[in-house]
């Protein structure tokens, strides 16, 4: 993956978004450096998931811009964005319960395949070869995540933690340059969270940039190189873990004003 080190993978410029009278995001600017693990934190309702929805095009921005490398993506439709190399997971797991684990992961490779309806219907050689490739790559990613054994299981049959991993695998199967993780540790116990941290490192070592939203402060402080703190849709602090931890505003938001 040859990329210009100087250009941020993701750049939010003066972004804003309201729902009715509620300002979910106001003039948020943010940059994500290539190959980094960055995080957005903030209390409930701070607008973290809204940021992800704006980046992935599921919500339209009210103002400002979003750039992926040199491409402006806030003007694009949601299905045009993943092919550029952006993949995401969802806080409340959105796996396809009518498919097996393998099929879910194969679905993640939709962006890297192109067989047409007609080609598929006639089972032409190209689509057939592509389908084999999709399956192979999906299995490789399942292997990377250490869950090959679950391939043929239905989503409902596997434990919550594994479902989380399947969703991450599905996102990885599209071989993104930027991976957005929406609260990946929510609902996981301590050991499971430890494993998740290892996995996140291994993903980063593949050269994939990671932006993560999280409540779990220990996880964030451990893995992130750069943290942005949101409160009521505004960025109140930014910096490395140590910087953010000692920031008065952040302490006020998280622990109450009397601690700051």
């Amino acid at each position: 993956m040859a990329e210009n080190v100087n250009i941020p993978v993701l750049r939010l410029g003066d972004l804003s978004k309201s729902f009715g009278g509620l300002k979910a995001i106001s003039s948020l600017s943010l940059e994500v450096a290539p190959g980094s693990i960055s995080a957005i934190i903030g209390p409930n309702g701070a607008g973290k998931t809204t940021v992800f929805n704006l980046i992935s095009g599921l919500e339209k921005t009210d103002g400002g811009s979003i750039h992926f490398r040199d491409t402006r993506i806030d003007v694009m439709r949601s299905w045009e964005i993943p092919p550029l190399g952006i993949a995401r997971t969802f806080q409340n797991l959105r796996l396809f319960s009518n498919m097996t684990v393998l099929e879910n992961v194969m679905m993640g490779r939709y962006v890297r395949s192109r067989a047409s309806l007609l080609g598929c219907a006639l089972n032409l050689r190209g689509p057939r070869r592509e389908e084999r490739d999709i399956r192979e790559k999906a299995l490789q990613w399942l292997d990377f995540m250490g869950i090959t054994g679950l391939s043929d299981r239905k989503i409902r049959e596997i434990p919550f933690e594994k479902q989380r991993l399947v969703e991450i695998t599905r996102a990885l199967a599209g071989e993104p340059a930027l991976l957005l993780l929406d609260e990946p540790a929510a609902g996981l116990n301590i050991t499971e969270t430890r494993n998740l941290i290892d996995t996140i490192y291994r993903i980063r070592n593949l050269g994939i940039t990671i932006l993560v939203i999280e409540h779990d402060m220990d996880l964030i402080m451990e893995i992130s190189e750069r943290i942005s703190v949101l409160n009521f849709g505004r960025k109140i602090a930014e910096g490395g873990p140590a910087e953010v931890r000692s920031n008065r505003d952040v302490i006020a938001v998280y622990l109450g004003k009397e601690f700051a």
Partner: protein
């Protein structure tokens, strides 16, 4: 895919038994479509009685429509109440082209399918951009419009009394003039349609359709252009309905508006729903049951419609997800089985 596995014991791929290999080979679309075709030929050969073979012809025609509808309803999650209209457009297009304009059948086939697909495109394009059941409403309207055109455009359609003298199909120098020949022809075409559908289901497109059905937003966040894909499937299903209409026109050789009413559209949707929407074989079962059942109910004379309704309600109460996958102790019931 359906074998139950003990949890935690992943099965090793290399050690698949011969029986399983065999099973897997039977599961390919080509094998399934061929087996069904073979079974149909066998049934036609055994039955022979022209009246019953006629029912088999209609079953084949209905199945061509409902397999497309199953892709649309069960996989893409959209309901169309316009399939009878597309069926009618296919039939009237080929009827008019061959009788009024003297077009050879071989040319009127692609012409009528393309024409119908074009109409479906125009109806689907604006409505499928919206989420929800707008397609059902739009196609409901389309059905009425098409029906009115059939009745009122008398110079072309002959109005309510219809028109006839539609030529028979000649295949490799052989005129398809008997029910048996036509039944084989229709079932060969249905087998091909089923083959296409099964291929689609087992491809990236099939997965994308299933994903739209479950979580449209998630599908688009994985790069699926949901509006376009739903539109393609809708146009495809209209094309299949049109093909069925073509087969109907050259079998009956006479067309009148009555055969293409809203009632038939609703019946087609019911066939897919009764059989089970989660699987295309459900549509095959539902269509078979609802095409053959009325024939058996003739025994009850005037009460047939009552009993028919009673059976439908019973199925929906006892088995809301459809007949597909029901375990019958004697063995699984399949089309023509």
């Amino acid at each position: 895919m359906e074998e139950k596995r003990k949890p935690g014991i992943p099965e090793q791929l290399p050690g698949i038994s011969k029986r399983k290999k065999m099973k897997r080979r039977i599961k390919t679309p080509l094998a399934q479509a061929s087996i069904l075709f073979g079974a149909a030929i066998a049934v036609i050969g055994i039955v022979r009685n022209p009246y019953y073979v006629g029912i088999i012809v209609f079953l084949g025609i209905n199945l061509i429509i409902t397999s497309g509808l199953s892709l649309l309803m069960g996989y893409a999650g959209q309901i169309s109440l316009g399939q009878a209209a597309f069926y009618g457009l296919g039939a009237y297009a080929t009827g008019i082209l061959t009788t009024r304009f003297g077009l050879p059948v071989i040319l009127s086939l692609p012409a009528s399918i393309l024409f119908t697909a074009g109409v479906a495109f125009l109806v689907g394009k604006p409505t499928l951009r919206l989420r929800g059941h707008y397609l059902a409403m739009a196609t409901l309207g389309l059905g009425e419009i098409v029906h009115i055109i059939f009745t009122e455009l008398i110079p072309l359609t002959g109005g309510p009394s219809g028109f006839g003298n539609i030529p028979l199909i000649t295949l490799f120098g052989m005129e398809l003039d008997s029910d048996i020949k036509y039944a084989v022809f229709v079932w060969a075409i249905f087998a091909f349609v089923l083959y296409l559908c099964l291929n689609i289901i087992h491809s990236r497109i099939g997965r994308a359709l299933k994903s739209i059905h479950k979580e449209e937003q998630t599908a688009s966040s994985l790069g699926v252009n949901t509006a376009r894909l739903k539109l393609s499937i809708f146009v495809l299903s209209a094309g299949f309905a049109s093909l069925a209409g073509f087969l109907y026109a050259h079998y009956i050789t006479f067309l009148s508006p009555g055969s293409f009413s809203l009632n038939f559209s609703v019946l087609l949707v019911t066939m897919v729903a009764i059989g089970g929407m989660e699987n295309i074989w459900g549509a095959v079962i539902g269509t078979t049951v609802l095409t053959v059942l009325p024939e058996y109910l003739r025994f009850f004379k005037d009460f047939d419609i009552l009993i028919y309704g009673f059976i439908l309600i019973t199925i929906m109460i006892l088995r809301p997800e459809g007949l597909y996958g029901i375990k019958i102790p004697v063995g699984r019931k399949r089309a023509n089985g």
